[in-house]
Amino acid sequence: MSVEATTSSPSGAAAEDRVAVASNWRLVWWRFRRHHLAMASAALLACLYIVVLLPDFFATQDPERTDARQAFIPVQSIHLFDDGALSPWVPAIVGKRNPVTLRMEWQTDTSKKVRIHFLAPGPSWKVFGLFETNVHLIAPADPKQRIFLLGSDRLGRDQWSRIMHGTQTSMTVGLVAVALSVILGIVLGGLSGYVGGKTDQVIQRLIELLQSVPTIPIWLALSAALPRDWTPVQVFFAITVILSLVGWTTLGREVRGRFLALREEDFVLAARLAGCSRARIILRHMMPTFLSHIIATSSLAIPVMIINETSLSFLGLGIRPPAISLGVLLQEAQNIQTLALAPWLLIPGLVVIVSVLAFNLVGDGLRDAADPYSQ
């Protein structure tokens, strides 16, 4: 790739000068910016992580609030305009008991309108557990009215609010598990590559062993071994540890490869001759040259973790209720009878697919941009 192509500014001497003095990170950014799909995905992920930070703001009600008389309510979609004027509303739900099956059958009735407001008061919640507020993105005009933007489940819990909280858990599991893998991968991979010899041999055999483990069955067995009386927070961290136990091996290999390649470079020799300590050589001279690769590899590892967490929780051996994750939500959609009755219970799966897709696209973009000097 010609260097000029990296910049989007008009070509010429000024632009070339800009490229010549640009830092490594700036070059990476310029290259990443050209991936339009990756940029769009990055914006989407930014939105998702705002939900992760403030799920209560986006939720319309308490995700645990149950009401057996409001089970399996279908999706109430938002309409922004009423008679040409901006006045958001959702259609009301009318229920009728089926005389044969004795089951409530719900219909949306667009002639009856439930007014909603944006940025309006609702149940109170705490920002980061510190300040109390009652502002929600969407709230019904009548606070006693419940609205189900994405329908309700078997116990009459609001799926929209539950998805907001589930997204928080699932996205955080991905991040924490990858963070653990990165630490393990850098330390063990770095040791392996920099020290070499017997250490290298041992760590390499360990990686091979872990990579040839039948992952899903072993994960299930490990999660089943967790004590039943652990709190949701303890289970959450145990699950992330279990997931990262196998996850670090890819990163470990990558880091080792980079260390092996760099060990013989002139600038490392120069640093050693100049009397730098081993820690300084690694942290100051070697790490910056492959940090972008590590970021790219780990951003591709996050979606794998999210899928694994969702699968484990779906099978009932991951995050456990009352904690909410996207996998826990999908447990509600486990059998075909429920699905036929309430297909909207599959929506948490769409959130998984979209977020994993976004992570993969960003990761691919980062991987291509990670080495701005390459072809």
Partner: protein, 328 residues
């Protein structure tokens, strides 16, 4: 070549020892043991057992022994083909696993064949027509396929089949064949049902393998020997299939090492959702009910299948690529 295979085979028992130790440690990890669970089962069915009897049983099963002795007893009975007794089903574990093992392997292998049968031609086509409609479509399927958890795909398919075509697609047989003895009709019925779970299981892998095939082939197609052959007037299809495809195959064969094991462990989730006879759901139940020896036996089989998959890819690779044999 024989020496190479023998070397890899020699590694197998060693790995099995390591795995069996780890699996036994995981089995022992939950609080309580086989007997605590057994006593709980008895209590729930109304019968009770005295403390002395429990102590005697504990001694008989060697549960009062240290960990390493218990491990040794377990391995010893494994060698005698004794996988223990299932608490929940009150039947030998070996029988329970044996009933479902054949279909578990059949599903994974079927999915594997399906994957290759679709991925290889698709990869060749999209390498020969880069940026065509098919090529772009495969890229999209690859991204979406990798992003969709297996169980989600199974759920969506089940829902679509039920809601729009009003058919149930769970299980591996039509109702009349579930308990029927093996016959040609039953095999045909199995084949009519197995393709869908096979496809669900293999779709992400199919897309990924076709991308690998495409990338390998694109690298080869730019090489001088291809240009030479083309200049000499060789027909395009014959040229591509005869030389570059054979070279592009090697990296694909090396994927068997991780892909086949991934199919075995992935079938656990698909089988659970689609209600298939498979050791996956059996393991899940055993884990949830703390039926430890059954779970341990199944985990061992998964490990064995995983090692076998890796071994198979090593041997195949050595067979088709002389360079690998020379290196060893």
């Amino acid at each position: 070549m024989i020496r190479f295979i023998a070397q890899r085979m020699a590694l197998l028992p060693l790995l099995m020892v390591v795995y069996s130790f780890v699996i036994f440690a995981i089995m022992q990890a939950p609080p309580g043991d086989f007997l605590t669970a057994y006593v709980a089962t008895l209590a729930s069915s109304g019968s009770s057992i005295s403390a002395d009897q429990i102590q005697a049983l504990r001694h008989d099963y060697g549960l009062d022994q240290p960990f390493i002795v218990q491990y040794w007893l377990w391995v010893k009975s494994l060698f005698q083909g004794n996988l223990g007794l299932s608490l929940e089903y009150q039947r030998p574990n070996a029988d329970l696993i044996g009933e479902q093992l054949g279909l578990t392997i059949a599903l994974a292998l079927f999915s594997f064949v399906l994957t290759w049968a679709i991925a290889v031609p698709a990869g060749i086509y999209s390498a020969m027509h880069p940026r065509s409609f098919v090529d772009h479509a495969l890229t999209v399927i690859n991204y979406v396929g990798v992003a969709t958890p297996n169980f989600m795909l199974a759920l969506i398919l089940m829902w679509v089949a039920f809601a729009w075509f009003d058919i149930g697609i769970t299980g591996l047989y039509s109702p009349e064949f579930v308990d029927a003895p093996w016959s040609i009709a039953r095999v045909l019925d199995l084949l009519a049902h197995i393709w869908l779970p096979g496809l669900v299981l293999g779709i992400a892998g199919t897309a990924r393998l076709s991308r690998i095939m495409r990338a390998n082939l694109l690298d080869e197609l730019n090489k001088p020997y291809v240009v030479t052959a083309r200049a000499k007037g060789m027909r395009e299809w014959r040229l591509v299939l005869r030389y570059p495809v054979r070279l592009a195959f090697n990296p694909l064969v090396s994927t068997i090492g991780w892909y086949l094991p991934a199919l075995f462990s992935g079938s656990l989730i698909v089988a659970t959702v689609m209600n298939l006879p498979n050791i996956g759901p059996l393991l899940l139940r055993a884990l949830i009910n703390q039926d430890m020896y059954l779970a341990g036996g199944i985990l061992l089989i998964y490990s064995f299948l995983t090692i076998l998959g890796t071994l198979l890819s090593d041997v195949l690779l050595a067979l088709i690529d002389p360079r690998i044999r020379v290196e060893n």
